[in-house]
């Protein structure tokens, strides 16, 4: 075993050597595997499929390029619709500081991004695969804005930990989600258009 090859050097004092041995024993006992809490294979498979080299003939190329966006566009449309409806309803009925329970419930519902994450990852994978086919300014704008929105959402969540009933934070979070939905909608549009429409 590789562990047995770990050699003791004579310069190390006995106490330190013993401490190192104890530390090494604890390190060896650590679990070397940690299963992810969600299935990552779907996202991997989608990305692998998206990175397959295109077919040689132009007609085949276009069919390949269109087939995936139809799937992704559907997911994006659902995401955008759900986010828009939820956010619209939410913004039309802003929570009151007088009703902290309702505010908290809304906050919790908005925090649940698990369903969005997979779709978002797939769309980002799509963006990566289509990088060469999209205008560079579109790619740069989408990536930059998504990164900014993610950072904003993370900061708002942190602020929530200290001020869980703060209505201003609720509005900020809703706005951040709305911006993300807009970006994904733009991405969906770009990836489903004929190449000529990009110009």
């Amino acid at each position: 075993m590789k562990w047995l090859l770990w050699r003791r050097t004579p310069e190390i004092p006995p106490e330190e050597r013993a401490a190192n041995d104890a530390l090494l024993a604890r390190a060896r006992a650590l679990p070397r595997e940690a299963e992810p809490q969600r299935d990552l294979w779907l996202g991997i498979r989608n990305r692998i499929e998206l990175t397959r080299p295109p077919e040689p003939t132009p007609a085949r190329v276009w069919r390949t390029r269109v087939s995936v966006p139809v799937w992704a566009a559907g997911a994006a449309a659902l995401l955008v619709l759900a986010t828009s409806v939820g956010t619209g309803w939410w913004l039309s009925r802003p929570p009151s500081l007088d009703d902290p329970v309702a505010v908290r419930a809304l906050a919790d519902s908005l925090r649940d991004r698990d369903g969005m994450t997979g779709t978002r990852e797939n769309l980002l994978a799509l963006l990566g695969a289509r990088r060469d086919q999209l205008p560079p300014e579109v790619v740069a704008a989408v990536e930059k804005n998504l990164a900014e929105i993610d950072r904003a959402i993370a900061e708002i969540h942190l602020a929530f930990e200290e001020h869980p009933n703060n209505a201003a934070l609720q509005f900020l979070l809703a706005e951040a989600y709305r911006r993300e939905a807009d970006m994904l909608q733009q991405l969906e549009w770009w990836t489903t258009q004929e190449p000529e429409a990009h110009s």
Binding site: K2, L23, L30, P31, A34, P36, W41, I44, R47
Partner: protein, 153 residues
């Protein structure tokens, strides 16, 4: 299946390096996509697990660095919540050591994980990470010292 057989080990390394579950998920996915892309370049002159780890280490380092989050993600931080956020490491594991490892600098953490947890030799670590053997030894020495100190508090 390649993915099922290896995802746990890849994810564990990503999780300990990124210290963030969603980031580790992303790195794990990136690793397997990269493996698929480069499977043809695997020549069989090293164990597949070593080659897979090389890909993982490359993804962990290059991926996060290219996204401008190397310093943010890998900078030493208070990691009191690390174990609680990672049930795979906290259930029956050594949470004190996990937290202490999470507090190490990124280079020391990577070398410690590869040497003392994964069992690689310094020469292999040098090959995996692109650092010199002496640098690997220095990082390990420093990591062990910091961990001993941290765990003795």
């Amino acid at each position: 299946m390649l993915y099922r057989a290896n995802v746990g080990r890849v994810h564990a390394l990503c999780l300990r390096m990124a210290r963030d579950r969603s980031e580790a998920d992303e790195l794990t996915q990136e690793t397997f996509v990269r493996v698929w892309e480069r499977l043809g370049s695997f020549r069989g002159d090293s164990a597949f697990s070593t080659w897979l780890h090389r890909v993982t280490v490359n993804v962990v380092i290059a991926g996060l660095r290219s996204r401008g989050r190397w310093r943010e993600r890998f900078a030493p931080v208070e990691a009191e919540d690390f174990g609680a956020a990672v049930p795979a490491f906290s259930a029956g594991g050594d949470l004190d050591l996990e937290r202490a490892i999470a507090r190490l600098s990124p280079q020391a953490r990577l070398v410690f994980l590869l040497h003392d947890v994964e069992g690689y030799q310094h020469g292999e670590i040098a090959e995996l990470t692109g650092i010199a053997v002496g640098t690997s030894k220095a990082h390990l020495h420093r990591a062990r010292g910091l961990l001993r100190e941290d765990l003795s508090r």
